[in-house]
């Protein structure tokens, strides 16, 4: 089967680095987004897209990989990183009104942004964002775009017009098939993401990032953000940090001490 060039959109999210303490603040219990990075799980989506593009001759072969983000001005960092890793171009929906958008509002904006790009063959996302961790945006986006949804793909192949993926559930490993265009989310089992190299970092400087506002996409400000979201956080509390308890070094009876501990905690 002929493998024609693909027009792929990869969703990339700018998220607080999980290596640091993450904080909620203010009346709306919003997440503090300083110290943010490209979500680690989106690197697998980008890799999946680049591998498909590479196999079809890359940019020279007519393939396009667009890194799309919705977020504050600083979120362009996630797009830039994606361009350094190898995406062809960037699209950044940036608007102050977006702050506080839930999955529903976010998927609405993503759908409009993807439609603004004209026909695409594949939308590829990570399995979850590392901040929201809900995994529901891909499903909502495919519903809004009317695209077949293949989520949690741990292996992925496109031949001709058909995409085939493996989805490993708890009870079954399934093979799922759809005809392009389709939306796919990939897990961290799907591939080994590449790192940006020096050449990629230089090349990225010449790549284009288009920044659009909600008005450009024909979305009114009250359809997004806190106003347009269909959920709200009404209370938030930081869990007390766990602290180290007893630490012993085995001197021959640690297994017995372990059992003593379990017995004291009434677990045996």
């Amino acid at each position: 089967m002929e493998n024609s060039a693909l027009n792929i959109v990869v969703l990339v999210k700018y998220v607080p680095d999980a290596q640091f303490d993450r904080q909620l603040s203010g009346e709306a219990h919003a997440l503090d987004r300083s110290e943010s990075i490209l979500s680690e799980l989106d690197e697998y989506a980008l890799e999946a897209a680049l591998a498909l593009s590479d196999a079809r001759g890359g940019v020279k072969g007519g393939n396009t990989v667009t890194a799309l983000t919705v977020g504050p001005a600083s979120a362009s960092v996630a797009v830039k990183k994606s361009l350094q890793i190898g995406a062809t171009q960037g699209l950044h929906v940036s608007d102050d009104a977006l702050a506080g958008s839930d999955a529903s509002a976010t998927s609405l904006v993503l759908a409009a942004a993807i439609k603004s790009l004209g026909p695409v063959d594949l939308v590829i996302t990570g399995m979850a964002s590392t901040d929201g961790e809900t995994s529901i945006v891909p499903a909502q986006l495919s519903a809004r775009l009317g695209l077949p949804q293949i989520t949690f793909a741990s292996a992925l192949d496109v031949a001709g017009n058909t995409v085939t993926a493996r989805r490993d559930g708890d009870d079954f490993s399934e093979e799922i098939q759809a005809t392009l265009p389709a939306l796919i989310s990939v897990t961290d089992q799907a591939n080994d993401p590449r790192y940006p190299n020096f050449k990629g970092i230089l090349a990225a400087k010449k790549k284009k990032i288009t920044t659009v506002s909600l008005a450009d996409l024909g979305i009114s400000a009250d359809a997004v953000g806190h106003a347009g979201s269909l959920t709200k956080v009404t209370a938030a509390a930081e869990r007390p940090a766990r602290t180290a308890g007893t630490l012993i070094t085995d001197s021959g009876d640690a297994g017995i001490q372990l059992v003593d501990f379990l017995a004291a905690a009434k677990l045996i």
């Binding site: 999980a18 290596q19 993450r22 909620l24 997440l31 799980l41 529903s104 399995m127 590392t130 961790e133 809900t134 995994s135 529901i136 945006v137 499903a139 909502q140 495919s142 519903a143 009317g146 695209l147 077949p148 949804q149 989520t151 708890d170 009870d171 079954f172 490993s173 399934e174 093979e175 799922i176 098939q177 759809a178 005809t179 389709a182 961290d188 089992q189 979201s229 269909l230 959920t231 709200k232 009404t234 209370a235 938030a236 930081e238 869990r239 180290a244 007893t246 630490l247 070094t249 085995d250 297994g255 001490q257 372990l258 059992v259 501990f261 379990l262 017995a263 905690a265 677990l267 045996i268």
Partner: protein, 322 residues
């Protein structure tokens, strides 16, 4: 009283309700009038269980498309049924598929979707979902601001209990109008994954998890798990190495668990591992490196060789029980 829909999948394991579904029905009954929406057959025994839970209405479809396509057809059934009974809320199990069914039904119903609820309470008629976020470092309460709320709920949100007055539910067949795109992602084959015979990670009171330190040999982990009646978990290093099924992975990209006791063995405690287990009630760690970060969150830490410590603990437990 407004209808609260509980989504029930009877396609994969028909004939009985899962424990989580029974919990959701108990939740729904406490908050309104429980309505069951069933994908697949409603057997006599399932009907009896639904009656014991006080369910009066059951909507079901056995259309083949529900099993032939991924997630989307089930979401169509759920959304159309919830609209038909004017539900004020929809409750779904918090599995990977359950969350996606909730997500898509939310789009159709223009409803706010909240996932990963550990419990659900009511506040003046509004459902409030309680969840733990940011890898377990924060707990939040969330509500839908829409007319309908869709919430996916984790296991053990409530103790399942029968209704004071059992009912005789009426089953209404639903003819789902599938959206064309819902018929896009076809399940072309399914391979059952081998069952371990041990408790499921999400259900287990105790989990014994092994990491790279087991060096390919999960026997000590499994033996300790079996004397404790525990589930077996693993770090990604162990599942990536192929020593144990990926379904056993705990962490950011695996299962998020909060058992009474998590015994971490030969696992260093990387941030992605902690993301899946640091809400456990008690944490015990066995690691030969005293500097290992896992000890920072362990209630009881043992610096030692797992191949010595675990077999000794197993022997000791057997001895005390004899």
């Amino acid at each position: 009283m407004s209808a609260i829909v509980v989504y029930i999948d009877q396609l994969d394991a028909p004939g009985k309700l899962s424990t989580t579904v029974s919990q959701l029905l108990t939740l729904a009954r406490g908050a309104g009038e429980p309505v069951a929406v069933v994908a697949g057959p409603v057997s006599a025994s399932v009907l009896a269980e639904l009656g014991a839970q006080g369910v009066t209405r059951v909507l079901n479809s056995e259309q083949a498309e529900l099993g032939e396509f991924l997630v989307a057809t089930k979401a169509d059934l759920l959304a159309q049924s919830a609209a038909a009974v004017s539900a004020s809320a929809v409750l779904v199990e918090n599995s990977a598929a359950g969350k996606e069914i909730a997500a898509r039904a939310g789009v159709s119903l223009n409803a706010g979707v909240i996932t990963d609820a550990v419990s659900v309470t009511t506040d003046g008629g509004t459902l409030v979902a309680h969840k733990s976020i940011l890898a377990g470092s924060w707990t939040v309460e969330a509500q839908a601001t829409s007319a309908v709320a869709v919430i996916s709920v984790k296991a053990h949100s409530i103790e399942a209990a029968p209704a004071a007055e059992p009912t005789t539910p009426v089953v209404e067949a639903v003819e789902v109008a599938f959206s064309p795109a819902s018929l896009g992602a076809r399940v072309v084959s399914r391979t059952p994954r081998a069952a371990s015979g041990r408790p499921e990670l999400e259900d287990a009171r105790i989990i014994v998890a092994g990491g790279r330190g087991v060096d390919g040999d999960f026997t000590p982990i499994e033996e300790l798990a079996d004397v404790l009646g525990a589930a077996v978990g693993a770090s990604r290093a162990a599942t990536d190495a192929g020593w144990i099924s990926h379904a056993s992975q705990v962490g950011q990209t695996g299962k998020k668990v909060s058992p009474q006791l998590y015994i971490s063995v030969g696992i260093s405690g990387a941030i992605q591992q902690k993301a899946g287990m640091q809400t456990s009630k008690l944490i015990v760690a066995v690691n030969k490196d005293a500097e290992s970060p896992i000890f920072e969150i362990a209630d009881f830490g043992i610096v030692g060789d797992l191949f010595k410590v675990l077999p000794q603990a197993v022997e000791e437990i057997k001895k005390r029980r004899a």
